[in-house]
Amino acid sequence: MEALLRARIAFVFLVTATLVIGACAQQAKPGTSGSPAASLAGGEKPTPGGTLTFVVNAEPPSFDGHRETTFALLHPIAPHYSLLYKFDPNDLTKVIPDVADGNPTVSADKMTVTIKLRQDVKFHDGTQMTSEDVKATYDKIITPNTAAGQSSPRAGAYAVVSAVNAPDKFTIEFKLKYPSASFLTNLASPWNFIYSAAKLKADPRWYEKNIMGTGPFTYVSNTKGQDWVGKKNPDYFGKDKDGTKLPYLDGYKALIITDATAGVNAIRSKQAMIEFRGFTPQQRDDLSRALPNDLAIQEAPWICVNYVVPNTKVKPFDDVRVRQALSLAIDRYAGGEALSKTTIVKDVGGLMRPKGPFAMSDADLAKIRGFGKDAAAAKAEAKKLLADAGVPNLSFKFLNRNITTPYEPVAVFLIDQWKQVGITATHDVKETSPYQADLRAGNFQVALDFNCDFLDEPDLQLAKFWSASKAGKGLNFAYYDDDKLDGMIDAQSRQTDPAQRVKLVGDIERYAMDEKAYQYPVLWWYRIIPYLKIVRGWQIGSNHYTNQDLTTVWLAKS
């Protein structure tokens, strides 16, 4: 019986590990110059001390990681918190325990996941972290107390969880509704900060305006619009391979610089050492010229993509021919090649990251309308579809947000492509808040949306494809309801065989992007991080969310 159990546990881990490692192995493949990877791989011994200064080009809307979805929260605030599991900063292809004490145990029926917790983890106020804190954390994420004003945009990613239990002081247990291929890796979500149960009990929204975690850095100060400062947590539980206490840094200072050019200049003038989101190729080249001997660069594909989202509740976008025409008009390959020289978009792909573990082959992708390589034929077909739909001279307002990179160049590219088939799109640019308000109210015709995730995982990338009135509420801005598509997404989520899952995901892409043309990607992003060489111990990943707790980052002496 025990052997059987072990075999089953081994199976689930094998599935998960295959997915995670497969995903990350292909997602990372960073291009590097300078020596950050080398410093991780070995050779150099980390030097403790110093303050890391980095740029964050947006202000966190609140301090609550469970509530927000922006990197602007993670970059300055993640160093204050721990997670249950996290991606290994020394090898982003692996998931390692953070406050968990080892790997999870999965029951024979794959419906119960049990995790032992470390007993040496303390909150910054000195109280010990226990399973009650982890339970309160996951309860808040999975079943937020909406009556008390809590919200959790990632609750859907944990729809598989039926209950979170704390059987003893240092054990946490997740009861699942069905075996899930993605649940274990979702426990390494960078948003799932471990919060204090006592603080949440006293005020369910306490973490929106306060900081108190178990992470490697304690909170020092925050000046709105200026900076965020943290200092080393002397009681942090983490140690490196040699037994040296982490973190290496004495502290960090995040400079809030919203203007992209000013952000580049901060690094050029060495007022800041790094910016973790990404720069354009032009900005990278400018910095390379200005700091030829002081700069290192890491690059990697990025799990971020812009979507064209026609509002299916508004005429004529309720007509599938019009939606297909909008996609057919876009010459993605020419656009990707050209725009990659000046901004952060590059690869053509479907709903899953190109060349990622779930991506469809180039040949299959080319069969989808708008993703073929014969641009002239596609444009001719687009014109025919528009004429058939009775809107040969279609015009509409194209909703976009006022963030230059890459929203503006992508929109300019799309407007030009549409113009070539007789469509007049008026660029309707708004600040992020009114832009999101319009998206949520359905107050638009066609919008440029985006999706960024921390992992190549269909459950995450397909989250916005669920029916708008069901699981896709607040994410699906195309506003369709489609039971068939819901069934397909649900089926892939329950499929634990990787090859089968890839096939099911391909079927979803064909159905959602081609047959129904509900919403479709433009170009996938490409991440470029130029930074001062003295920053060591940080490795680029295929997202700008994970690996931000700064535990292993250190500063070389010169």
């Binding site: 354009t280 900005q283 090649e337 050209a338 000046t342 006022n402 300019v412 113009k419 309707d428």
Partner: protein, 310 residues
Amino acid sequence: MTERATALESEAEALARRRYFESTPRKRFVRFWREFITRRPLGAFGLVLVLAMILAALLADRIAPYDPTAISFKDLLAPPSPEHLLGTDNFGRDVFSRLLFGARTALLVGFTASIVGCTLGLILGIVGAYFGGRVDQIIQRLMDVLLSFPLIVIAIAVVAALGTGEDKIANVIAAITVPIIPRVSRVVRSSALSVVQMPYIEATRAVGARAMRIMFRHIAPNVFAPYLIMMTAFLGQAILLEASLSFLGLGVFEPTPSWGLMLRGAGMQFLERAPWLAIAPGVAISLAVFGFNLFGDSLRDALDPRLRTA
């Protein structure tokens, strides 16, 4: 004074009067501009710049060698060449064509904002001067409030309240119009105050003319000179303000050609690699403002009898 001198003076006066009455408005108009061009070369140069800008805007469709919004992937960031006189931007769009079409945005915003702003300022200035008392107090305190903020601050506040967008150019115009009003109102009021004291205004009142007729039939023509001068001066400022708002991301949006937008977007981002992207719209804005200012200053001198040369 001798008899002969007196006779000569009355003869000259009679000649001048006859010439004036013999001349048609058209002749007077031609004479004014001929004198303006010959006696005020700087103003004439400003006028040439202004006319060149207006012609560029009007004939942009015919002059521009390329569609200003058409992307050309093979020409990304191409330097100036015979094919692209002022080079291309990061989308391969012809900078010269965008500059010509950008003049339309600048002039549309500049002319509309300065005409509407100056006219509203004229009305408020005349109304305040004519009625005086509480009406004047209220108008002038309101103008004081608006004057206490710099031009750009009010413009940003207005555009932030009304919203921006490619189809909301009227909001940008309104944002530029609002700060112009108090400045014109103040100048017009001071001129109108002296006109209001004139005997003929008293006479008009005495014969029972209504306030509206007195203000806009008898006072307005007498304060038209400062109004016209302020309008030309604010045209340049309005163009600069539109460029500033676009530069700050509060004006029109891509892919609409606009000088401020050209300066802000690719102009800043590719300053080192492609300096022509910033130089072309920068020079255009400078020349436009310079032209309107030169022209406005000279027009003021030409219209002001105290500064008029013999």
